[in-house]
Symmetry: C2
Subunit: 702 residues, 2 copies
């Protein structure tokens, strides 16, 4: 296998062969040619069809072998059964990039999947990259390249611009493209990846991250077929300062909550994907329209450093509606400084100059008010973005000239801030503002949501580099799932503290251990097979003296013998009984896409009923762990909300981070870890795992 | 004072006097005349201006007295200081409706407020209704009446149609009107109420509820100035089958949570308003665009009975995105029946006919597939609404004819269901679908949200009449706030159970009472002045025998004497100690707008940290109380989620309803009631208030 060539040829070819070319502009083999002719494709179109001499006025070749040159790219629009021989011919010719429109492969079952695998092998032998099969293709507006049969082009071609779309689904990707076009947004690149036999959305994102054409990347994914490549692509986009707006469909049933205490049931795939993709800088979205709102705002490439909003309005009502939405999404709207308020009050006594700043309908008579208020919001307010609610006023012929004259100098004077209007009216008039660098939205709440996303991005860029991961040695796992004492030992070597405890095998040994720890103690059975020990009476709490230890020892063994007679008993655990802390839960769950995922939550109802947990892909540093811990809704309990001392969040953070490093080092045999409860003691007193269950998949036979 | 005339003359006048009429079409006194001339107002325009003979080509009168007839309505566009004499003159003339554009009244402070009150008195003396002052006015497109100076008309007049807008804010109301117009929606009525000196949004809603012109009412409110009238207007709209879409701005800081256990701190104004308005059938919204989406859908007047959605798509991806959104908003998407799935599979083997139903891009080649799938979804699926994701395909010239031909017969065959498209493209082509009764959205998620709102409405209509309120006698309140025992006695007469208990005044009396109840018992101090009894050691739990009763009695009195030496002690309460139930909280809080409001939540962290409470205006029936109880996020705990027996929700519901009836009957002196905790025993065993605090405002001096 040769090393994979880059996909430049696929997206920006200087020549393209169309295999199965058609004169009929509504057919798959005809549409791309018609679109390229209409757009004035800069490269050479080379139709291939044994039955024709010309196609749509172009010279047509009878076979790939007959082509007069090696095409940079090929579009394959032939029936599934002819695809392999076409790839073979293209490979012989030296073509390195093919887009497979043809369907009838992995999407139709096992046989098609096998055929698809063969295509990939064949292509790799020839050093050829494949898009699809079952793809709607690619377009690249800047060079007039339309390697696509999308009927979205029937209602108009896209506009050139710095937004790019990468979509697994052809129709949905084309929907996004048409949505951008219908809004007048410039989107030069659409890449739809179809069955992803070779090229995935991840590689498409990567290409856009590295391309001069694209500054904002919209990505639609159904399944994530290559997680490491996707995360690397997101990192590359972030490093290049290009926002990635990600819509991942197929979210799991949020409502369905398993009552089981096992952490594996707490994290749906969608929650994990959201957490991991966000962690790599992606903006997670749910709907295409919001994606386009944010893409539009991001396309101006202004990412203010301050996550704060000033709202200027000619209607008190609209200012309140926008403020309500800002509060809902968590976009701060700090008040104007007192001195600036006094200055504005002097200009307009009836104004409300706090934030929102209401310059009242008086601004319609005296547009200099609008200018003064906006200037003050930018200069004295220091807001990252200023949103002016001007509604139909901005859209009127009479006012637009005056407003432009007032705002354009401000736009120039504060190039690192966003000025946005909520405006209605004639699209041609509104476009003048947009051309001047002022963002235009027709709904105040949509404006607030899009600005919030952009302003968060700016803040994120300023973040310092993350601290290093905790150091760790190699993780050596036993052959089978360990019992509780062994699990704790394993974790202790990874730096995770359990309560002081000892495995014993006689009542007198238990008494000695208990005396060493000090009373009260806890005792429980040790058996790798018994997970829910208290259900069978094999856990005893509040043991206060030596006699009680002896009684408990006997009772635990008797209960185990009665209720779990088959279980291997490896001893009894005696542990110091800690109290006075907050019960938490942490664990590791293996995600099929992203591997080991760390989970944190408070114990009991918070997790069982409210599913109030934070997740992150392993490994992660203590700072990230702290972010996770503080992100849960019930974090206030750890911070001392109920009148108790604040918990040792430092200790929890380090413990969670170390657990994540342990999990990342443990490899694929680590199925799950449950530390439940973890007792977070008052600040400075540490955090201790009171129980630990580690599940391993057995070694495979050699 | 004469009884108030109806506001018909204000909204649909046959003649209108414009006081302060101007030739300048950009001035407040000129704009309405220009707009009416442009629209061809059906009535007579009567300009009044002492300085002119004609205005905009119309005969102008020098004074109100000179008018040749009694105008149905007057528009007052004169400076604030001339408004009173204008009203006086109009009143003498016999005019019964005036719109006061003039500003400078209540919105500028106390002096303006006094002047405004005088205007109302003056108007009432003449039997005249007032809109404003400080209002942008009214329009009524059907008769070409523009009693408004909104500059939104500069960018075009509204289209006639069955949507109506009632807005306190002029600019925001006009923004909604312009938003409707820019989307091509018909909105004949806009009423902006400004300072609401006389006519409120409530009366505007009421007018639309009773008018033939309007079928869908959009309402924007900042403050609710007349709660009973508003609720009556909502009831009238509901009775008339007209949805009210309400945007109430100025939501309280959701994040701010008082840690105090007093229920008064648990309900922000916005939460109460949402609950009360929803309860009266309003759809509560946050943003203008969603309001217009729902208004558009509602304007077709199809309200299916089933709250369920079928999604048909030509792109698997879009189907998943729509399904994700449906799940998020709680719109059920049940699968197609097996037989129907088999039938569709036979038509198209690669189809996914479950729900979403993916008829694949094959539907583009064979539109009969789209027809068959939609027909099956309507007939066999029985969905209230069917949403077809057709994106740019529906917007193309070539396809639209075929699609219309396939869908129009279905539209006719299922008149009681909704058919909606997610479609992009030429607005003229999309309008053809709309004309055929098919709803058009350009975003699948916005479509899902709007359909959900409409489908919920249909379901609500089917609801049976509510059961009757519990019967009750008159509530007789003591002169000052009662102590705990008195409070419980008062509540007991209202049918609210406390645990078996007795007020005692000696240790031996306490022993006798305890023996009668059976041990364990609880004892606490009785004093109307001590609210947090346990904080001062005046509550003793788990008292197991007679000696302990005697000790507790002494300790409680000693603790009280030490920590609250000034408090009036009325005795000691002995109560049976109940256990084994779920701790809840219920109470009454007096809302400044809606009066007494019932609050329900679980105890402890659920209320303190998560603010997980339900609220409702008093009084309400047991069925409503049950809805409240089951609506909290932690309701599963009452239903036995943690392995405990389900709680007696029946008893809780009756108790909460009775409390609401008590509060409604108690009148304005009842400031608050706190029953915290209420112990909900296992099903069939009742619910008991373990503590009760009633706060009364003292009798005013006679």
């Amino acid at each position: 296998m040769t090393s994979l060539p880059h996909i430049d040829n696929l997206i920006a070819p200087r020549s393209v062969a169309v295999i199965g070319a058609s004169d009929d502009v509504t057919r798959i083999g005809g549409r791309p040619i018609a679109a390229m002719l209409k757009a004035g494709y800069e490269g050479r179109i080379l139709p291939v069809n044994p039955k024709r001499d010309t196609v749509q006025g172009l010279r047509c070749y009878s076979s790939v072998d007959d082509l007069p040159e090696v095409p940079d790219a090929a579009l394959i629009a032939v029936p599934a059964k002819l695809v392999a021989e076409t790839i073979e011919a293209l490979g012989r010719k030296g073509c390195t990039a093919a887009t497979l429109f043809s369907a009838g492969f992995a999407e139709v079952g096992a046989e098609g999947e096998a055929a698809q695998r063969e295509l990939v092998e064949l292509a790799r032998e020839h050093g050829m990259r494949l898009l699809g099969p079952n793809t709607l293709g690619v377009y690249n507006v800047d060079i007039g390249y339309y390697g696509t049969f999308s009927s979205s082009l029937d209602t108009g071609h896209p506009f050139p611009g710095n937004i790019g779309i990468a979509s697994q689904s052809g129709a949905f990707g084309a929907h996004l493209g048409a949505l951008a076009r219908d809004r007048g947004l410039g989107c030069s690149i659409l890449i739809t990846t179809g069955n992803e036999a070779d090229i995935t959305v991840a590689e498409a994102i990567r290409w856009m991250a590295e391309s001069d054409t694209t500054d904002v990347i919209c990505a639609y994914m159904e399944a994530i077929n290559d997680a490491p490549a996707l995360l690397a692509a997101l990192d590359a986009a972030r490093a290049a300062g290009k926002p990635v707006l990600a819509l991942k469909s197929g979210r799991s049933a949020v409502g369905a909550r398993a009552a089981a205490s096992h952490t594996a049931s707490l994290t749906g795939d969608a929650v994990v994907a959201d957490a991991v993709l966000s962690d790599h800088g992606a903006i997670i979205l749910r709907d295409p329209e919001t994606m386009m709102d944010i893409a539009y705002a991001a396309s101006k490439k202004v990412f203010p450093a301050h996550h704060s909003l000033g709202v200027i309005t000619v209607s008190g009502g609209a200012g309140i509606v926008a403020s309500d939405e800002a509060e809902r999404v968590g976009l701060p709207m700090p008040p104007m400084p007192d001195a600036a308020q006094a200055k504005l009050k002097a200009l307009l006594p009836y104004a409300s100059p706090v934030n929102p700043l209401d310059c009242t309908a008086q601004a319609l008579n005296d547009p200099s008010l609008l200018e003064s208020f906006t200037q003050a919001a930018l200069e004295e307010g220091g807001y990252g973005a200023v949103l002016c609610f001007l509604t139909y006023v901005a859209g009127s012929d009479a006012m637009s000239e005056v407003i432009l004259k007032a705002m354009v100098p401000l736009r120039r004077a504060y190039p690192d801030r966003i000025i946005a209007f909520c405006a209605l009216g004639d699209p041609e008039i509104l476009r003048q503002y947009d051309d001047a660098g002022i963002l235009i939205f027709n709904d105040p709440c949509r404006a607030v949501r899009a600005l919030d996303a952009i302003l968060r991005l700016g803040g994120a860029r300023d973040k310092d580099a993350r601290p290093a991961l905790p150091s760790h040695g190699p993780v050596i796992l036993p052959a089978t799932s360990p019992d509780e004492a062994q699990a704790k030992t394993l974790l202790t070597t990874a730096g995770i503290c359990a309560a002081p405890e000892q495995a014993v095998s006689s009542a007198e040994e238990a008494v000695t251990a208990a005396a060493a720890f000090g009373y009260p103690v806890v005792m429980k059975i040790l058996s790798p097979e018994i997970v829910h020990k208290s259900d069978i009476g094999a856990v005893k709490l509040d043991i206060q003296d030596a006699d009680a230890v002896r009684t408990a020892y006997g009772d635990i063994l008797a209960a185990t013998a009665k209720h779990a007679p088959e279980a291997t008993v490896t001893g009894v655990l005696v542990a110091k009984q800690l109290s006075g802390g907050v019960e938490c839960l942490m664990g590791i769950n293996r995600d099929p896409t992203f591997g080991p995922v760390g989970v944190f939550g408070l114990g009991g109802i918070f997790v069982e009923l409210l599913n109030d947990v934070a997740v992150r892909a392993c490994p992660f540093d203590p700072e990230t762990a702290r972010d996770m811990i503080l992100s849960i809704r019930s974090a206030a309990i750890l911070q001392g909300a109920r009148g108790t001392a604040p918990a040792d969040i430092d200790a929890l953070s380090h413990m969670l981070s170390r657990l994540s490093v342990f999990a990342a080092g443990a490899g694929e045999r680590l199925a799950s870890v449950d530390l439940n409860p973890v007792l977070a003691m008052p600040s400075g007193q540490g955090a201790y795992a009171l129980d630990a269950v580690i599940e391993l998949t057995p070694h495979e036979d050699p």
